[in-house]
């Protein structure tokens, strides 16, 4: 939660500072949220089970419907008439009982120009941080599109849809012992989640 608060404050400060610049029209910030459902999931775990005294290798995949949501703030600059590069952060549900704090970049291509109403395509990616388990951060990649509605003034509304893949290093639940595996005994804990998300963004 502290990370999320810090990131939010940094983004808001960046927004405020950038608004003081002489060329505010190239700078844009926004708030975005959305909903989605996880689909394909892959996991690969390798850990030492102190109780049985040998290493456990667990690998598999499944299709699971897990609804989730995400919300965040973004801020960035128009690099050209059609391309915008933004920094995004917030909170992102990636699986059941698994929420992360994303920090990533997103490139958005507006087919009719960033300041026009029309279709969008975007590609984004970055890191996923989790407060509850100290480990290497995960990574996410998103690919999507949408439609921008110019509401008037400096306010736009983007209707978005995207596919997201996220790798994560979640704690490993040991069913036999009824507890999480100690982090020191984990050699590998990789999970990859894919999901389809729809969202809304207000861009200023």
């Amino acid at each position: 939660m502290k990370k999320l608060t810090a990131i939010t404050v940094i983004l808001m400060l960046a927004c405020s500072l950038a608004y003081c610049q002489e060329r505010p029209s190239r700078f844009h910030w926004g708030v975005e949220w959305g909903y989605g459902a996880s689909g394909f999931m892959y996991w690969s775990n390798n850990y030492f089970d102190a109780k049985v005294g040998y290493r456990i290798w667990d690998e598999g995949h499944e299709f699971a419907f897990v609804p989730n949501a995400y919300a965040g703030l973004y801020a960035g600059f128009d690099l050209g008439r059609r391309i915008n590069l933004s920094l995004f952060s917030g909170t992102m549900g990636i699986y059941s009982d698994r929420q992360v704090i994303p920090l990533g970049l997103r490139a958005t291509y507006a087919f009719r120009g960033q300041d026009s109403q029309g279709a969008l395509a975007f590609l984004g990616g970055g890191l996923c941080f989790h407060d509850l388990f100290v480990s290497a951060p995960g990574q996410y990649l998103q690919l999507g599109g949408g439609y921008r509605i110019k509401l008037g003034g400096k306010m736009d509304m983007d209707l978005l849809a995207h596919l997201r893949a996220c790798d994560d290093h979640p704690p490993i639940w040991d069913e036999e012992n009824g507890s999480y595996v100690d982090a020191a005994n984990i050699r590998k804990n990789l999970a990859v989640y894919t999901s389809f998300e729809v969202g809304v963004a207000f861009r200023f």
């Binding site: 949220w33 909903y35 897990v66 609804p67 989730n68 949501a69 549900g93 059941s96 009982d97 698994r98 929420q99 509605i149 110019k150 509401l151 008037g152 003034g153 509304m157 809304v200």
Partner: protein, 180 residues
């Protein structure tokens, strides 16, 4: 879950009836930490007053990362415009306050299982209407005060619906298609 389809059907039927009567002002989606749903706003004889009907799935614990079956709630509110800001170029901004009633099959704070809630509600918020784009965006908060009927140890118990108060500060935002 089985109740969701009849509930949405009832809501759409209500919307269709109002549309046929030419009273519907907007139809759209309703977003909040409380849940996700549909909302409809209808006009009244007084242009300063509107009726809002909202049907949403209660998803606050899903957003918190816990996968459980959602509850559902229907909210009616009669809203009165408190102040209209100067409008220009088809844009209109206003503040509103409203009162109405809510009913639903929902969970409650610190309690297990579902129960039936019925409450009076009060709302306060702001709306931005972009007539040229047919978009209406409203944001606000809603307080609900009423009982929650649930079964515990094979007997019915009535208690205060805590989430109506605890979640009163959860803001909502609705994004709707604005009819002319």
């Amino acid at each position: 879950m089985k109740a969701i389809i009849p509930a949405i059907s009832l809501f759409l039927a209500l919307a269709a009836c109002h549309t046929a009567g030419g009273q519907v002002r907007s139809v759209g989606t309703w977003h909040s930490f409380k849940g996700l749903g549909l909302t409809m706003q209808s006009a009244t004889r007084n242009p300063k007053e509107t009726n809002t009907f909202t049907l949403y799935a209660e998803l606050w614990d899903t957003y918190a990362g816990h996968l459980t079956a959602p509850g559902g709630k229907f909210v009616f509110s009669h809203n009165i415009t408190l102040h209209d800001f100067d409008a220009a170029d088809g844009e209109a901004f206003s503040l509103f306050a409203g009162a109405g009633a809510s009913a639903g099959w929902v969970k409650d704070h610190g309690r297990d299982g579902f129960g039936m809630m019925a409450a009076l509600n009060g709302s306060f918020g702001a709306c931005a209407a972009f007539a040229r784009k047919h978009v209406l965006i409203c944001a606000g908060i809603t307080l609900e005060a009423g009982p929650w009927l649930h079964m515990t140890e094979n007997r019915y118990v009535v208690s205060l619906y805590r989430n109506g108060i605890y979640q009163a500060y959860y803001p909502y935002i609705s994004i709707s298609y604005l009819f002319k």
